[in-house]
Amino acid sequence: MNELLEQFLIESRELAEQTTDDLLALEQSPEDRARLDSAFRGFHTLKGGAGIVEFDAMGRVVHAAEDLLASVRAGDAPLSADMVGHCLACLDQIGRWLDAMETEERVPAGADAVASTLVARFAEPGARPAHGTPAPSAASDRPPWLRDLLGRCPDVRRAGVAVRYVPHGECYFRGDDPLALVGRLNGLLALAIHPRNAWPQLDHLDPFACNLVIDALASGARDAVADHFAAVAGHVEIHALSEGTEAGGLIVPERAAEILRAQIALASSSDRGSFDATLTSAGRTAGNVLRHLRCDAKAAEIDAALARSLAAGEATALVAAIETILAAPDEAGGREGTADTAAARPATIARTLHVDVGRVDAIVNLTGELTIVKNALGHAVRLAQDGADAASLAPLLKQQHAQLERLTAELQRSALSIRVLPLRQVFRRFPPLVREIGKRLGKSARLVMAGEETEADKVVVEALYEPLMHVIRNAIDHGVDSPEERNAAGKPAVPVIRLSGRREGEHVIVEIEDDGRGIDAAKVRHAAAMQGVATPEALAALSDDEAVELIFAPGLSTAATVTTLSGRGVGMDAVRSAIERLGGRVTVASRAYQGTTVRLTLPFTVMMTQVLTVEVAGQLVGIPFHAVLETVQLRRDHIAPVGDARAFALRGRTVPLVDLARELAFVEGPRSSTVASIVVVALGGELGGFEVDRFGERLDIMLKPMGGLLSETPGVAGTTLLGDGRVLIVLDLEELLR
């Protein structure tokens, strides 16, 4: 079966199951916000899947359900049993369709007619909140931001829809421009922008992380606005402002608040003589106001507070209860929670893994073989106990050790292969993205993919999306040449971006190749000199290829680079650090007028790490081998203090020296007074030295990330257990050299 279809079936079944659970739970407790959100997301993701396999009928059905739940989420109407029923019927039908697709391997026949019947049910009166007639509670349940926004709007009568858009923090990297999206909204009436988290000090602001909350008011229909924001559906809250409330809606809560405030005054002022009567009157009035606004739960709170106040002979409880309601008229907390769960979603999905049964079987077989070796070892132990001499035991033990070695290696390989995914998992997300970016930038490009079957560790594959997207976006944005240039150079009219993957030994190579104009080394040199990335002498000494590599230097990612260079610039240092975090390398090769190739060299698995062991204050420490440049013995008088740090000169370069014992808070032992042992590492073009007590050996280890309390330990990437039972601490160089 087609891989895409297979994946779709697996995912859709899981989603349908989860969403059914959510709906059943909602039937029991319709107020459960988390379930509602989860069900909404379930339909939303199902819709995405249907789109990918081009199953339009299913898309229409889940869209109708999603739409319905969206309006429930926006507070347009409470969730009724009928609505839940319709949604469940959809999922039921989807289950049948999925079964049919599994056998027929195509979209089931007659699905369109079935879909139309299902969709029609959603349109029936009572099945969905009608947009024209307001639910009486709508106005009072409006969140404060919406009331603010209405207050800001000069022509509130035209306002039909309010939108709160909280863009993803990394949306700029995806090429999104949230404000521009809001700006393109038809009939935009009012706009407000807030920081999501209070603005930091300006010099701590991250200009690449979106910290905006955008509120907008527009004329027009809810559906049109929802369509406009469809691409960012998980990040927007849309409220339909029903007719008649433009005038009344604003006044009612204000008037209600006034009445409530008056009751506080009344309750507080009641003197002893008429205490009970006045307090009861204030409490009842407040309760009635809330009941009128259909906030029965809050009215009940007031009733309870009134009873407490009467019992205590003090107005405090009632006054406090009314004040609480005035201060927090809606469940803002619930809304915040929604955003959080939505953000956390990708992480949860990534927790499950679909594993080929064959791979599990291989592991089961290996455990069988291990048992045989264990039994053989038991036999050797008995011989030793019975007084067999070492000479006769040695060959036996040697043979069993060899077997054990082979089996553990195989087991390790098999266990790791469970974590392996084809690059296709990440590659397949790019064709639509390239279309989208091309449309946005007005430059069309053709994406050609190769080697999608190449496998890599799940962690690597899943972390590749962002850096790849960045490189591809840059290639289209800056690398692609104009039609005139292409024509003159005799290139095909449509630029081609080639995304390919292949395995090379223990590495996975991913390349992004364009046939654009290439990167002009002279201009990179110029920009680097202008921006102080390196001295002019150092720049002059670089070959053209080395100069082009400067695009990865932090600080070169400025507007000047982008506008004056015919190459890339934006955030390539971010790409490099993302790849280095995975233990990989990124390089670029460019030929003028022929194109640019960015190559990512990634470890096949992030778990096998080669380290150089060193001894520091009696503790064994591992330094990731890929970063180790050399080890040197240096006379102490060659180490110079720089401020409160130290540095030494290595072939004309000044290298900062990190005292590992101090950095890791070890108790320092005595050291050679004349000579320092130093491990020189290179990270992102920067050199650094670690002073150690003794150099050890090169080791292949399975790195175990720090868990629990230790996960926050600075400078430590993880640990592993050595053959002699000692714990080896493996350093996180990036953190130590920062």
């Binding site: 700029y172 521009a180 603005w199 200009p207 979106c210 400025t558």
Partner: protein
Amino acid sequence: MTVAMSSDGTIRLEGICADADAEPLLRLLVEHRDAAIDWRGCTGAHSAIIQVLLAAGVNPLGPPANAFLRDHVAPLFGAIAASGGTDPVRK
């Protein structure tokens, strides 16, 4: 150069200011906290640019040369300058 400091010490936003301009703009604002900002020549500004301006609490000299920025975004700066800061999102 779409974001640059002119000889009179004014930070000027010209043409379409892309997301990549946000970082240099921020750097200019950090280095020259009291500099005047002029965006009358600005024909478009990415969200990242607006975010930097909002975070800096500045009130650029306008109007900008773009209807959306002029009608909807520019008034937000005025409000901030008048109230002396931005309101964090209410909870």
